[in-house]
Each structure stands twice: as C-alpha cells, then as structure tokens.
C-alpha cells in the first residue's frame, strides 16, 4: 500500500514525522481525507482532531491554529500547537473547559467572548483526544 510522509511542526519544534496511509482532518470548510497522490492543496484546519491512519492502527493529534500543506507524497501540518494523547493532561483540560464555560455565561464584551469560545473549543478538543 502506498504511503504518505506526514510531518507535524509547531513553533516549539517538530512533533511527529512518519509515514501513514491516510490523513483525515477537519478543515474550516469541512472534513478532509487525504490519500497518497492527492493534488497539491493548502487548507486551514479548525481546532480539531487529526487522525493519521496506518496498517496497524490510528494516531490522534489535537491540533490548534493550524493549516495543512498537501503534496502528492507528503503532508505537512503546521500548527500553533499539536499534542499527542499522551501529552495531554485531561484534568487540566477539564478545568480549562469549566473556566471557559463560566466566562461564556458571564456575558462580557465580544473580544473576551470570542476568546473564551476558542478556549472552550481547545479544551474540548484536548479532552476528546486525551480520553
């Protein structure tokens, strides 16, 4: 089976580089599945899970603030943060989620509201991947 080289890079350094059979992720415009031989593509990713599939299983990454660059044999995911399930502190994410929810309820001006919303998304994404 053909494979893709996937590398995930963040400002804090490379997170992962390996070959996989398929990448599925959520772009801002909807779910995307990338197989080897895909046409070159650039797409921003939403705060979501990236699933990397290979023969013997799937790896998950919680991605925030990223976009992907696709070439026929290579996928590069650039993100402000990308975490493996083992790096995620679920307890902390839950606390962050509660904090964000509280902030959302106490209606403030729109910038804080947006921020809290993003924080909530990030926390839920982490919990989702971490569990």
């Amino acid at each position: 089976m053909k494979t893709l080289t996937v590398s995930v890079v963040t400002p804090d350094g490379p997170v992962l580089e390996d070959s996989f059979e398929m990448v599925s992720c959520k772009a801002e415009s909807g779910e995307l599945g990338i197989l080897p031989g895909h046409i070159p593509l650039v797409a921003p990713l939403s705060i979501s899970v990236v699933r990397l599939k290979r023969e013997n299983g799937t790896e998950k990454l919680a991605v925030n603030g990223g976009f992907m660059e696709v070439r026929p044999d290579k996928v590069t995911i650039l993100a402000q943060s990308a975490e493996k399930p083992s790096d995620i502190n679920v307890q902390r994410a839950k606390e962050a989620k509660e904090r964000a929810e509280r902030r959302l309820q106490s209606k403030q001006d729109s910038i804080d509201f947006q921020r809290a919303e993003l924080a909530l998304k990030r926390a839920m994404n982490r919990i989702n991947v971490g569990q």
Partner: protein, 288 residues
C-alpha cells in the same frame, strides 16, 4: 596608598573577591547551559518558520490580485515598536544597546509621542520607557528562559490585532540577533505590513480550500505571530550569551584583582617581618 591598608583589610578584600568570583563563575555556567538550550529552541523553530514562509510566499507570488491589509502599506500615523529586553541586568550591553537604539530612532523619526507606541518585552525595557514617558501600550515581564509558543501567543496576537485594528500602521521590532556565543547584533525588522516575502520560486501550484483570500486571512496573522516568536527566541539566546560573556569577564576581572591583592598582601607581610627582625636586632644591639 595600598600600604595604608592593614594586612587584615587586604585579607578581607581577598576573601570577598574570591566569593564574588565563585558566584560569577557559577552564573557563567548557568548562562552557558541556558544558552545552548535556547539555541536548540531557536533551531527547532526553524522548520515551522520556513514552511509557513514558503506557503505564504507561494500564495503571494502566484496571485498578484490577492490583497490583504497585512500585505499592503498604508500611510503611517503611528508606529509600534516591539522591543525585546531582559528582566534583569548583569547582561553586559544587551539591554542598553537596544534601548539606546530605540531612543535614537524615536528622536530621529518622531516629533510627538502621539506618533509611536512601544510594546515592551522585559522589565528593563518597560522601566526605561516608564522613566522617560515613552508610551507603552503592552508589556510582558517575566518571560521564561525557554519560552514556549503558548507563553507569548497572547502578546503576539494582540500586537497583530493592533495592526489590524489600525491602532498602529507599522510594526518594527528591535532585538539582539544571536550571531554567536560572543557576538550579538542589534537588529531592526519591519514586521508589519509584510512586504519582504522571499519567493524562492519553488513554484508549487496549490489548490486552495476554501479560497486564497480566506487562507490569507488565517495564515497571515499566524505568520506574523510566528515572526514575533522567532525574534523572541533569537533574543533569548542572545540574552543568555550576553550574560555568559558578562559573567566570564567579571570572573576574569575578579581573578586579576585577587592576583594583585595577593601580591600586595605578601609584600606587606614581608615588610612587617623585616621590620620585626630589625627591631629585635636593634633591641639586642642596645643590650650589648
């Protein structure tokens, strides 16, 4: 003048200088290890910055009709200066060269303080601006020695937001570029608007999902934030290097001083002994 000091005084000074030397030598080693770590961080940031630059460049190169406020110059009513300094001293000329550069630039380019604002990273820069009534719109004190992107994300995105909201019309960053462990260079970078995107002509044609305009919307702020992060990492490496150099020369100076003190200590001790012998011999001669 030295002969006035008693043996005990000299001994005291020698002891205290030795202790100072121990401290500075330890600080030098701490800075050296922090520096190599910071160098590592700066290196691991490179793949990200290269890639994001490549993608931004390829979009900008292939689509001349794409426009975005962050790409286009506008009339400058207010300039934002982002200065990267340390929280503490003991780093040689690291802080002062940046601050001198800032002051000179302000004097040359601006008539009134309405025309500029400073975003200060580091306590030294913040205090400097406070003392001289330079307007500071944002500041960050207590940045970690090995900053993570998450630590500076807020500052970076707020700064970029200032540009988008037209609070500032250009953003210039001053930091010490890390050339090597013994050389750091004050560097000025025009960060926003983004004008100098190198197109290395890799010429990759991409499909864009959903479209270029929206991708730029997402990508450019991220690109600008990553540039700020890169400058901070570079500045941190320089800070540790400068601190290492400063501490090394302090250690060397202490060593010289100890040598001199030792010499005059021995000389005085010898003089005292000689005097005592002379007195004894004199006493003996008087008895005979």
């Amino acid at each position: 003048m030295k002969s006035l000091a008693s043996l005990r005084d000299i001994k005291g000074r020698m002891d205290s200088t030795k202790k100072t030397k121990q401290i500075t030598a330890a600080m030098e080693m701490v800075s050296a290890s922090k520096m190599s770590k910071a160098e590592q961080n700066a290196k691991s940031y490179v793949p990200y910055s290269e890639k994001i630059q490549e993608v931004v460049a390829s979009i900008a190169a292939n689509n001349t009709d794409v426009s975005h406020p962050m790409l286009s110059k506008r009339e400058v009513k207010k300039t934002g200066y982002l200065i990267v300094t340390a929280d503490k001293g003991l780093v040689g000329a690291y802080n002062s060269s940046i601050l001198r550069h800032l002051q000179r630039t302000i004097q040359e380019k601006h008539q009134s303080s309405d025309e500029y604002t400073v975003i200060a990273v580091g306590r030294k820069g913040y205090d400097f601006c406070q003392k001289r009534d330079i307007p500071v719109s944002k500041s960050m004190i207590g940045l970690a020695d090995q900053p993570k992107f998450a630590d500076i994300k807020e500052l970076a995105s707020e700064t970029v937001q200032m540009f988008i909201d037209e609070e500032i019309d250009e953003l210039i960053i001053f930091y010490n570029h890390y050339v090597s462990a013994i050389s750091q260079q004050v560097t000025t970078k025009n960060l926003l608007p983004i004008t100098d995107i190198e197109t290395n002509g890799s010429g990759s044609q991409y499909e864009y999902e959903p479209d270029q305009q929206q991708i730029l919307e997402v990508l450019l702020p991220q690109y600008a934030e990553s540039l700020i992060f890169g400058a901070l990492l570079d500045g941190k490496a320089s800070e540790h290097a400068a601190s290492m150099t400063a501490m090394r020369s302090a250690t060397d100076n202490a060593e010289d001083l100890i040598g001199e003190l030792e010499l005059s200590y021995n000389r005085q001790r010898q003089a005292a002994i000689t005097q005592e012998i002379t007195e004894i011999i004199g006493g003996v001669a008087a008895l005979e």
